[in-house]
Symmetry: C2
Subunit: 334 residues, 2 copies
């Protein structure tokens, strides 16, 4: 694949998924690694055609001795491309964060991107996830247990906290990105932290995916991407139905709880029941990203087998109680 054909492939993807509107200001999250450097170069070449303005945002997690050198590299690249850059260094010791280091780093980074977008009047944030990331995520979800929601993995376009996150490189794979940078003689930084933080993902990337490619199907990366893609469409449709159904099931609503009719919930198709409760949790501002199939299986058991008054706790302070002919979904304030 030549440089131009990669760029036009990304352009087609951007257009078919309507990732940008003309006049959008787009914040590009850039680490200095191959993926985000390629994303920056590609969007920079397409910006006039697409009618978008670019602004780079670099977050230094301060986790490695050479992270300052990454920031310097990004600063030089921005200067060469004549693009604005906002840089920030994390002042917190992330290695002491509760939960996984990777999750903590992602949260801080996301918050920084949103803050930067607000500061420069941008509604869109572009990230450099590509097809191999997508395939790895799908496999990771399958191996840890998932349903439809998790199989979507990484969406090309997703609203979050009032911003639209887009991933224009989801249509290309790692090799294409590296070939592109080589052809452009563009260097990039190698992030050793990335290689250490998530053992499970790295094992999938370095052992499982290569094995599946070699012994089972050379096209597996594309197939997993297609799966995530079509499942994303399926999920959108079901989620829309669940939203409508939830509204119809509410007997009483307060700031921190929904009271739902258990009989009516039971009459909904099985596929919607779990999405209705998930939707309720989301409306209560619970952390729905942590809700998986096992949480729904526990609620099914609550409904079918446990005594009146029993409670199931979901992640993020959401609780579900069976009370006579009702199911109450509530949230304990943090």
């Amino acid at each position: 694949m030549t440089v131009m054909s990669l760029i036009s492939k990304v352009k087609s993807f951007i257009q078919s998924r309507k990732l940008f509107q003309p006049c959008d200001t787009v914040v590009i999250g850039i680490s200095g690694g191959a993926d985000s450097v390629a994303l920056t170069l590609i969007l920079n070449e397409l910006k006039h055609e697409l009618g978008i303005k670019l602004h780079l945002a670099h977050y230094d997690h301060n986790l490695r001795p050479d992270s300052a050198a990454d920031a310097e590299f990004v600063t030089r690249l921005a200067a060469r491309l004549n693009l604005f850059l906002t840089s920030e260094t994390c002042s917190i010791d992330l290695t002491r964060a509760s939960g996984s280091l990777e999750n903590a780093a992602r949260e801080y980074r996301k918050e920084f991107f949103i803050r930067t977008a607000d500061a420069v009047g941008a509604n869109v944030i572009a990230l450099a996830h590509h097809r191999d990331d997508l395939a790895e995520t799908v496999l990771m979800r399958i191996l840890r247990g998932t349903g439809l929601q998790g199989l979507q993995a990484i969406r090309p376009k997703r609203k979050l906290d009032g911003k639209t996150f887009v991933r224009p490189l989801l249509c290309v794979d790692r090799q294409e990105i590296e070939d592109f940078l080589k052809a452009k003689t563009q260097d990039f930084r190698i992030d050793e932290t990335n290689r250490r933080t998530d053992f499970f993902r790295n094992k999938i990337r370095r052992e499982l995916l290569p094995l599946l490619k070699k012994d089972y199907n050379p096209g597996i990366t594309g197939l997993l991407g297609n799966l995530a893609d079509t499942v994303g469409d399926d999920y959108d449709l079901l989620e829309g139905l669940a939203r409508l159904s939830l509204a119809a099931l509410i007997v009483e609503r307060t700031d921190n709880a929904f009271t739902l009719s258990l009989d009516q919930l039971g009459e909904e198709p099985r596929a919607l029941q779990k999405l209705i409760l998930r939707r309720a949790a989301r409306d209560l501002k619970g952390d729905v990203n942590q809700i998986d199939l096992s949480h729904w299986i526990e609620v099914k058991d609550l409904i079918e087998n446990r005594p009146d008054g029993s409670i199931v706790n979901w992640p993020g302070g959401v609780w579900i109680q069976k009370r006579a002919s009702h199911l109450i979904v509530g949230r304990t304030k943090a």
Copy 2:
């Protein structure tokens, strides 16, 4: 797991999935292998409680020198359990069948089960697929490329050609079945053909699943089963919506073709568009089992990019033509 707890596990599964109605006559497909022998013993123990009558059906594919000994083994088992048995030996040389040997064998066997059910007044046919079969099938589908439809893999209950096919052992795994037979000191036949016919499935069974269990998640079999299960619910819901949408899109219908409004199809949610065409193919008696994601991707390309009059061919004689503002889905008689 004790003998009794396995039986009660299967009983719960039968009840929660409503696999049988009281007074059903159930044809059990029995090969003489561990799985179908266990299914026969278990249903035989539960038959009074469930209020069902049993009838065994054995199909000798005549592919191995010792297949007659399998038939003999099944005949003795039926006599010992005091169950009726219908046996039939295939008179065709299946090794010369077009397509894969496994597919041909499955088709003949299915046709025999349906014929036997008709002869004894049964509406239900019980097969011995278990949780390992389900997990293997899910992996196989993922590795060959699939969407929601294929991920369902093996359903516990499915209508086909006027009969209900049920799989009461989908809730237990191979090891539980073998332990059960050992505890019962019940022997069974080992089918070497089964081990040879499908290279890809056997590779998944013998190499990939054990690797995933060992290195990634010891509970992977159950997780893949849960995935297939919830996806089955999701698919049922979407399929029901697609059926309604298809009816609304039809501009003209003849015996062998549907003419659909292309504009209206484009307004349907993306997740439904593929299911609507699949539904049309099914209504035309096309072989929908062979339709996968790649066929839909080709039709999307037909709609979006190919000139008026272009045709895409689907498996089983179904063709799809773009003609002005219409999409015609037709079937060439075999």
